[in-house]
């Protein structure tokens, strides 16, 4: 999908994601806690995205569909995403000149998504694909 809005994504870990992870990664609960992106209210309006609706996130490395979440704080141009297999699909994997592997911060193109949230099985299939 061309276009979309450029956002800086920062990953974080939330307790309920870890609780669901302990219960099992192949569950709806883990997906619900992981496959989300917290967006700034103004950014959501600009992109025409409502809370709970699918958002398509794309980088040169990959793309996923996750659910939109409205942040209580204002943070235009920045989005927060749980560190998970979903955010990992968007990371480049390139080691920087300083030898550091970036896992916390990256730039995505975000737009209103079609269909449903990417499943972990779909992510595994993409990784397995030749």
């Amino acid at each position: 999908m061309a276009g979309g809005k450029e956002l800086t994504v920062i990953t974080y870990r939330g307790i309920f994601q870890e609780v669901e992870e302990a219960r099992g990664m192949y569950s709806d609960g883990y997906r619900d806690q992981s496959a989300v992106v917290a967006l700034d209210g103004g950014d959501m309006k600009e992109m025409g995205i409502e809370a709970g609706r699918p958002v398509h996130l794309e980088t040169a490395s990959g793309d996923v569909v996750v659910a939109a979440k409205l942040s209580e704080e204002a943070h235009p141009g920045v989005a927060f995403m749980p560190a998970s297999p979903w955010s990992a699909q968007l990371l480049s994997g390139e080691v920087g000149e300083d030898g550091f592997l970036e896992l916390k911060m990256f730039t995505v193109r975000a737009s209103s998504g079609e269909g449903r949230v990417t499943s972990i099985e779909e992510i595994e299939a993409v990784i397995r694909a030749p």
């Binding site: 307790i15 609780v19 302990a22 990992a88 699909q89 994997g93």
Partner: protein, 406 residues
């Protein structure tokens, strides 16, 4: 009292009702710890070779075969392993002439290394509870990752010199890019920074400590923070992934700030580490090699980023992952390399890495199903027993059995 390996705080005041050998009602476990305890009943890993279920012994023999046939094996993981298994893992890496690494190579390894090497001052969490009047959480959200951090040690409890409770006796400062649950508690002590802005914050704080005007928007607030830190009697800085990643491995500014603080008063650094025994692995490898991660034993002892999982997957010909899930945490391009590698996964539960492994070997959950010892996130050694009977082998038994067979 039972013991929790749900995070690196290793809470040891857990009360568990054992109902016919099964875990019943628990007291004092946090939400995350309770989920960790509950997890022993579901999603467990089964022994498999090439997708077919086999006996555990056969799985261990297949694992040994994969490793023995490799020229450049990588042994990765180890944060969720006992000290005994970590020790055996280092011995296995030496025996194989392979490399050994852990997730600290892409998180807080450098900070931990400086602490172990004595380049950053540290103290125990018990010291923090007894003496600390200022706690700084930097790129760190222990309320979410280590839920009892603030209640057991760093903010709310009474201690020897902190008898009057947090409102009068302690100060919490949170430096983060978002208003995390920890920042929520700190209220007025929250300093919001821009993504990647930690270096600039350090500079401003150093200026403020020196009585110079800091180059930030809210100069007054930064000067007040400087004054607050100067007046601290016993300060503690808790570091998280956020700080480690923002500084991208260049700790010079941070080390210098901590040095300046210690010219004025006492400030210690304690990293908030993820897995329950990350600190144990870093210490074990450091004691053996002088490095906390990314070591190759191929030609003597070599250390460098080229031996970290992010770089080594291009050249290694077999991987053993021990109690970790790099395929879920690392960028898809690296997960793809793992998926294609001759991989052995030892773990307690099914995850993306075990799904991609050629050989999977199930292990007991330490602290619940098996005993052992480990180091808390502040380096304090803790020993523990298993709580329930389990058919699963302990991590150290698995590594030793594989080592015998290679």
């Amino acid at each position: 009292m039972a013991f929790c390996t749900g995070c690196s705080l290793l809470c040891d005041d857990i009360v568990v009702d054992l109902d016919g050998g099964k875990i019943g009602k628990t007291m004092n476990l946090c939400r995350k710890g309770h989920a960790h305890y509950s997890s022993i009943g579901s999603g467990r890993l089964t022994p498999c070779v090439d997708g077919s279920e086999v006996g555990v012994e056969d799985a261990m023999m297949a694992a040994a075969e994969v490793l023995a046939g490799a020229d450049n094996p990588l042994l990765f993981g180890w944060g969720a392993s006992t000290l005994e298994a970590q020790r055996a893992g280092v011995d296995l890496a030496k025996k194989l002439g392979g490399a050994i690494d852990d997730p600290s190579s892409y998180s807080q390894g450098l900070i931990t290394e400086k602490i172990i090497a004595g380049d950053l001052p540290t103290c125990t969490l018990d010291d923090v509870r007894n003496f600390a009047d200022v706690s700084i959480y930097w790129g760190d959200d222990p309320s979410s990752s280590h839920p009892r951090h603030m209640s057991r040690f760093s903010y709310f409890p009474r201690g020897e010199k902190r008898q009057r409770g947090y409102e009068e006796d302690r100060e919490a400062i949170v430096i983060d890019v978002r208003k995390s649950p920890t920042a929520q508690i700190a209220a007025d002590g929250f300093f919001k920074i821009t993504p990647g802005g930690d270096g600039a914050f350090i500079e401003a704080l150093v200026a403020s400590l020196a009585g110079k005007i800091p180059k930030v928007e809210d100069k007054k607030r930064m000067l007040n923070l400087g004054t607050k830190l100067r007046k601290a009697k016993f300060g503690a800085i808790f570091t998280g992934q956020g700080l480690a990643h923002s500084l991208r491995g260049d700790l010079s500014g941070f080390v210098s700030l901590v040095g300046k603080l210690n010219e004025i008063t006492r400030f210690s650094v304690i990293p908030t580490l993820g897995d329950y025994n990350t600190r144990g692995f870093n210490q074990t490898l450091f004691d053996e090699t002088g490095h906390v991660n990314s070591v190759s034993f191929k030609d003597g002892v070599r250390h460098g980023r080229e031996f970290s999982i992010a770089r080594l997957l291009d050249s290694c010909d077999a991987v053993m992952v021990m109690g970790s899930d790099p395929a879920a945490a690392l960028p898809a391009a690296i997960a793809k390399k793992l998926e294609r590698a001759a991989m052995v996964a030892v773990g307690s539960h099914r995850n993306m890495t075990t799904d991609f492994a050629k050989v999977s070997v199930p292990m007991a959950v330490a602290g619940i199903e098996a005993g052992g010892s480990c180091l808390r996130t502040d380096g304090v050694r803790v020993e523990f027993d298993g709580l329930v009977r389990s058919d699963h082998l302990s991590d150290v038994d698995i590594i030793k059995r594989i080592m015998e067979a290679v």
